[in-house]
């Protein structure tokens, strides 16, 4: 069953109503359960649960400790290109924007990767705008083949592809596929994706399933918080994660919670999420899917990132540049968004250690590729 079909079997209206109006009894039930269903999860998102945030944080901390220990995986994004045919209104890379465009050559990608390797990174996330010609499947394959001998873990966050192309990328050395739905609200989705392939909501929604069938070992999903009601996004994300953990049972699922950041030419959040609600969302997700990874990027401030280390986050980027070529040289090429945590990888490493956690550079192996 596809995720789309699975979604249609869920009593979503009723679950979303719980997320808005749960009673104290429903929240308590969720807090005392070892195995939460979607209604329990929704109750934890409700306004009623806000006063119980500290208890949720304690539960989330305990669950994370048992499952993941005192470790935080570190990774870096490597931007291959800011060329893009899409029209996402929240992104600097969108086609109509008059920005300096650049796609790295394979040698330039390797130069970027070498800088990250020297900083300690062994897990990379390859990111790019969606441009079928400049960032073609064979270009991505060539990048993977170049980097695979040196990097135990290579994830891709690029334009969604077919299962066949994904299988080629897996053989070329990629172990992870990251694709954010951006928003799970079809109307909001149509409002911010004005033209191009990305308008196809269902194609994007079923991308992680295709990736799992092609052999990716890690699946990253996420919603760009700020485009629509966060409780609605959270319920869909949770359902998506649980669906993938059953359907694509061999893959490790992780969830990202990017909050919309200021970016050149881009709209701001119409539905902002407060820090307090954001932290509650992290805790609720951890309680609902104890085995899922939770990823936090440098979109968030140093203060918030340090604060949530014990609460359920399992991996973090550090020292990120979001423009292609940004590690090798300061460039005029436009960034995807503004970074909030400007610390160097070394500073993030020390901050994680200071919190009593082991920052992990390497937790995968080249011998497991393909």
């Amino acid at each position: 069953m596809s995720f789309l079909s699975y979604l249609q079997t869920l009593p979503l209206e009723s679950i979303l109503s719980t997320a808005q109006n749960a009673s104290g009894t429903e929240v308590e039930r969720a807090l005392s359960s070892d195995s939460l269903d979607l209604f329990d999860f929704a109750a934890l998102l409700s306004p009623e649960a806000d006063s119980r945030l500290e208890r949720m944080a304690r539960r989330s901390h305990e669950i994370t400790l048992r499952r993941f220990g005192r470790t935080i995986q570190l990774f870096a994004p490597l931007y291959l290109s800011n060329e893009c045919v899409e029209t996402c209104t929240y992104c600097s890379f969108a086609r109509p924007n008059a920005i300096e465009r650049r796609t790295l050559t394979i040698d330039e990608v390797e130069a970027e990767a070498n800088i990250l390797a020297a900083q300690g990174f062994r897990h990379l996330l390859l990111v790019s705008g969606e441009h079928p010609k400049r960032v073609s499947p064979s270009y991505v394959e060539a990048v993977l083949q170049r980097l695979a001998p040196q990097f135990p873990s290579l994830s891709v966050e690029v334009q969604p592809q077919t299962e066949e192309i994904y299988a080629v990328w897996v053989r070329a050395g990629s172990d992870g596929l990251v694709v954010y739905q951006e928003t799970y609200d079809r109307e909001a989705y149509a409002r911010v994706h004005l033209a191009g392939k990305k308008k196809d909501f269902n194609w994007r929604l079923e991308t992680p399933e295709r990736g799992a069938r092609a052999g990716f070992r890690r699946l990253g999903i996420g919603a760009l918080l700020g485009l629509a009601d966060w409780r609605m996004e959270a319920v869909h994300l949770a359902a998506h994660a649980r669906y993938l953990m059953r359907e694509s049972w061999r893959a490790m699922v992780s969830i990202s919670l990017p909050r919309l950041r200021p970016a050149a030419f881009a709209i701001g959040p119409t539905h902002p999420v407060s820090d307090r609600d954001f932290v509650r969302l992290v805790c609720a997700l951890r309680m609902f899917v104890p085995d899922a990874g939770i990823t936090l990027s440098t979109r968030e401030s140093a203060r918030l990132r340090d604060g949530v280390i014990p609460l359920g986050v399992t991996s973090m980027s550090a020292g990120s540049r979001t423009e292609p070529g940004g590690y090798s040289a300061p460039s005029a090429a436009e960034k995807q968004f503004e970074i909030a945590d400007l610390r160097t990888p070394e500073e993030v490493f020390r901050a994680v250690r200071d919190r009593g956690y082991d920052p992990v550079w390497k937790d995968w192996e080249v011998a497991l590729h393909g």
């Binding site: 048992r66 049972w249 390497k362 497991l368």
Partner: protein, 260 residues
């Protein structure tokens, strides 16, 4: 009287194996490993960087006193496990391998078919193979026949701290085994470790319960003592639990005395 654990051609005094994952720092891991008295210490190959920028995980272990037992965590099938084992040997690690073939990331339960296949391949290549398995007595015998050095059945899934949920099957495995049985995974407290040893296990492996304790070093000591207590009790001959019905009268056979 010496009570040593013998695996393949090596003799160990300690019957506690410890893992090195999930600790808050490599220094804490090192101190806890020392305090545990373990002579066999597992390390995930996926965590080992043979060309690191900073210090390597392995630099924190006293390699003279312990046997470093690389595990194949992350392998989803026999081929991947075999590749990892070969990588370890090529990297100068011992030719001993804790075989973990876990195709799903949630419970990390071992795949019995792939585990048996990988054992057959690795034994032929000269590895000392210690496979992690579900508590399946027939699989344990098949692995023994395939040349495994031990079997390492789980008490409950990795990291769950639920104790010996597979107790009855473990008892059968122990009774049948001609190779050491090491209870692996799910031991959340020293009392669980003691229970496994009382049951007749030859050793136990502990990681999460020590690594995530508030004081990992003290918890390592507690597990050492728990294992020693359980082993001593096993050797001393634990009194069988009292039966429900008293045996003073013989309602079923009493008639025998009244005959003739």
């Amino acid at each position: 009287m010496s009570d040593n654990l013998i695996i393949a051609d090596r003799t160990f005094r300690s019957r506690l194996f410890v893992g090195t994952g999930k600790f808050r720092s490599p220094e804490m891991m090192r101190d806890a490993v020392r305090e545990s008295g373990a002579e066999i210490v597992t390390v995930a190959l996926r965590r080992v960087d043979f060309d690191p920028v900073g210090p390597n995980l392995l630099d924190f272990l006293d390699r003279g006193d312990i046997l470093l037992l690389p595990n194949t965590s992350g392998a989803a099938n026999a081929e991947e496990a075999v590749r990892l084992a070969r990588l370890a040997r090529a990297g100068g690690l011992p030719h001993w391998v804790k075989l973990e073939v876990t195709p799903e990331p949630k419970w990390l339960l071992p795949d019995p078919v792939e585990t048996l296949r990988a054992t057959e391949i690795l034994v032929k290549e000269g590895f000392v193979v210690l496979p992690y398995i579900g508590a399946d007595p027939i699989l344990a015998k098949r692995l023994e026949e395939a040349g495994a050095a031990t079997v390492m059945p789980l008490g409950s899934p990795i990291g769950t701290s639920r104790g010996l949920k597979t107790r009855d099957s473990l008892a059968i495995i122990i009774e049948q085994a001609r190779i050491p049985v090491v209870v692996d995974a799910g031991l959340g407290a020293p009392s669980h470790a003691a229970e496994a040893m009382e049951l007749g296990a030859d050793a136990v492996l502990v990681n999460t319960a020590i690594a995530v304790a508030r004081d990992p070093v003290a918890m390592a000591r507690a597990f050492r003592l728990g294992v020693e207590a359980g082993r001593t009790a096993f050797l001393a001959g634990t009194a069988p639990p009292r039966q429900e019905s008293a045996e003073a009268s013989s309602p079923l056979t009493g008639f025998l005395g009244k005959l003739s």
